[in-house]
Symmetry: C2
């Protein structure tokens, strides 16, 4: 029989993620737990973040330096506008992409100054 144990470390990590509207690294989360003297290990932080991602309640992305960062995130398909100053994340619905720069600024006040776009799939010769 397969069980899921509800543990204090998991609750604490999920809580930190839930109250933060920016991508956090495992190290950042670990720091906060240390400050709160939670006695949670870094390994557990990594394991729990990965678990949250698998469950679909968090997304992850690699920052510029290749460090994995996590954000509590609804599973619906959308994209992110990330502030270069505060790191804050705003959701950008997929349909908005066509009008992206103008709408981001006009509708949300987000001053776009860069973006990363990559498409994946199969090229003509790989069918």
């Amino acid at each position: 029989m397969r069980h899921e144990y509800a543990t204090k470390p998991r609750e604490q990590i999920a809580a930190i993620l839930a109250t933060e509207r920016r991508y956090l690294s495992a190290a950042e989360i670990f720091e906060r737990l240390e400050k709160a003297e939670a006695g949670v290990s870094l390994s557990t932080v990594y394991r729990t973040l990965e678990r949250l991602r698998e469950k679909g309640v968090a997304t992850s992305r690699l920052d510029e330096r290749g460090e994995a960062t996590y954000l509590a995130c609804e599973p619906s398909h959308h994209h992110h506008a990330i502030c270069r100053v505060c790191g804050g994340v705003e959701d950008v619905p997929c349909e908005a992409i066509e009008r992206f720069a103008r709408s981001l600024h006009d509708e949300r006040g987000f001053m776009l100054d860069g973006h990363t776009i990559e498409f994946f799939g199969r090229c003509k010769s790989c069918g």
Copy 2:
């Protein structure tokens, strides 16, 4: 006086990059150099790739596992369509983004099945 020395390792690395239309990791380039018994060190591969990127003749991106990969690349602003099977890269001009899925398939035969889009800038409160 500041000089730039033209060396064999640099030529060889640039040559590998120039003939390959896919993102290559430092390790992959190093392997090829080993096969050719070029006697070039991994450190030099890293240093040279970074140098090519700074000079603007190559771009880099992190793959899913966070490994840095490099591609010889014109400096003009555009995006990439990466084949999931062969790794081949096709340039996607920036203006095409609005019509991306249809045009990619109709015009290039690239069957889109995923994409990564991130916007950067300053949010309303960070001005």
